[in-house]
């Protein structure tokens, strides 16, 4: 019990530290948001001016933008520490590795949630889709997607951060793994936007929850092995 409380305290401390450094480095976080918004704008060019087609594709485009922005976010959260050697010190702390993982994943999920939350209105404006009535299921989908992405992203960023060609390797390893998350999140978003006529929203949200739980368990269980190497 005591160990659990201590672990939670460590996780919260790490999450707060990451969130603060992310906020202090406003430029980096701002650029990520700008990049993701730019991706949304370019999708508009790529798919042409047909507004109905854009509205149909909007859920997929939103999530691709979140995924691209998320890749940058995950890499940065680990990169900051690796650059000044703080990563090695983190690995030396005599605390549960799972607590370190939980803290990092929490910070990642929080940043991703903010990113997704800000991208939602941008998508609504750019592609002319009404999100007003569906904001609650949309936010739930974004939150679940953010948690799952951060669960994988934390493990894989910790794995690639001290590797050669990490800029390529992080997306290359992560994208196939998050494919089911992307699929479920897009489906859940589309179902929320259309008022869920087929009653499938719940199933997709359940799939997202399952993905999140499984990946958090695996990530927490294996992160220690990545730190100690």
């Amino acid at each position: 019990m005591n160990g659990l409380r201590q672990g939670l305290a460590v996780a919260m401390a790490i999450a707060r530290k990451d969130a603060i450094s992310e906020l202090r480095g406003r430029q980096a976080a701002g650029s990520t948001l700008f990049f993701a918004a730019l991706v949304l704008l370019l999708f508009g060019f790529a798919l042409g001016p047909d507004s109905r087609r854009l509205a149909e594709a909007a859920p997929g485009l939103l999530w691709l933008a979140i995924v691209f922005g998320g890749l940058l976010t995950m890499a940065r959260l680990h990169q900051l520490e690796a650059d000044d050697g703080a990563f090695e010190q983190l690995a030396l702390y005599p605390v549960d590795r799972r607590a370190i993982y939980a803290g990092k994943a929490l910070a990642g999920a929080a940043v991703m949630l903010v990113l997704g939350g800000l991208l939602l209105p941008i998508v609504a404006i750019l592609y002319a889709i009404p999100i007003g009535t569906a904001w609650l299921p949309l936010l739930i989908a974004v939150a679940l997607g953010a948690i799952g992405f951060a669960a994988i992203g934390t493990a894989y960023a910790g794995l690639t951060v001290r590797m050669r060609a990490r800029e390529v390797m992080l997306p290359l390893l992560m994208l196939p793994v998050v494919a089911p998350l992307l699929l479920a999140a897009v489906k859940a978003t589309a179902a929320s936007l259309s008022g869920d006529p087929l009653g499938e929203l719940g199933s997709w949200l359940q799939l997202l929850v399952a993905f999140d739980v499984i990946m958090l368990v695996v990530g927490a269980g294996t992160y220690g092995f990545l730190l100690e190497d």
Binding site: I152, A155, Y156, L159, M163, R164, A165, M169, L172, L173, L175, P176, V177, A179, P180, L183, A184, K187, L198, E200, S203, W204, L207, A210, F211, I214, M215, V218, G219, T222, F225, L226, E228, D229
Partner: protein
């Protein structure tokens, strides 16, 4: 030596099963000759899944036991598995064109799942190449292998649902071949092919494992500077290349 015998047995078995599948078993009434592709396609897919199971279990074993031989086995499983995954996709495409009219059928959950499988394990192999230290490489690879393995069922279910949550299986589902209604001859031909592929699989796994152990030996040698001392053999070079320990 025993491995060599296994190799010859596997070769004979594959030739036998292929001759059986191509010439002995009659063509399917609906699909015609294209159905013969199913034997190699399904066998490849099963072997691919078995390979990735080996990779995941060996990786897990490495994390527990810290034995680099288990890592060599994990590598062997991944490399052989990638090859059989590619075969399964190729077979599926060659079957899909005459039967469905397209090489790539997004509606088919297996094809889509298999494509992601290929991407997952190509990433695994690339990751191994980019890490030099054997212990570090083994630990990273084991984690990636585990995450990939738990991802496979999620991918499968998500793609299955994606076709339509309330929709039954489409016609031409590959599993139809194993239905009780399928003629016994077809089932036996598939089982024979599977047995032959399993023998080939065992042979390739052993050979790749042996190669991985030798490659590890070479890395060790290089680290000790033995390569230079042996190759250069210049006067004084041996002393200069002597590893500082």
């Amino acid at each position: 030596m025993k491995t060599r015998i296994l190799g010859f047995v596997a070769l004979a078995a594959v030739i036998g099963a292929a001759v059986n599948g191509l010439f002995v078993v009659p063509a399917d009434l609906n699909q015609g000759d294209a159905q013969r592709i199913m034997y190699v396609h399904v066998a490849s897919a099963w072997i691919a899944y078995a390979s990735f199971g080996v990779t995941a279990l060996a990786g897990l074993g490495y994390l527990i036991r810290r034995d680099l031989r288990l890592d060599a086995l994990a590598l062997a499983g991944a490399e052989v598995g990638v090859m059989f995954t590619a075969f399964a996709i190729w077979g599926g495409m060659m079957w899909g064109r005459p039967v469905w009219g397209v090489y790539w059928q997004w509606e088919d959950p297996r094809l889509t799942t298999t494509a992601l499988l290929l991407a997952l394990y190509i990433g695994y192999l690339l990751l191994r190449r980019l890490t030099d230290d054997p212990a570090r490489r083994a630990a990273r690879a084991a984690v990636v292998g585990l995450i990939a393995a738990v991802d496979i069922p999620i991918v499968h279910f998500s793609v299955l649902w994606w076709r339509g949550l309330h929709q039954g299986p489409t016609i031409g589902d590959p599993s139809k071949i194993l239905n009780p209604s399928a003629p016994l001859q077809f089932v036996l031909a598939l089982l024979a092919m599977l047995a032959a592929f399993t023998l080939v699989w065992a042979y390739l796994l052993i050979r790749r494992y042996q190669l991985a152990r030798l490659e590890w030996q070479l890395e060790e040698d290089a680290r000790r500077g033995l390569v230079q001392t042996a190759r250069l053999a210049l006067p004084g070079a041996a002393a200069a290349e002597e590893p500082a320990r």
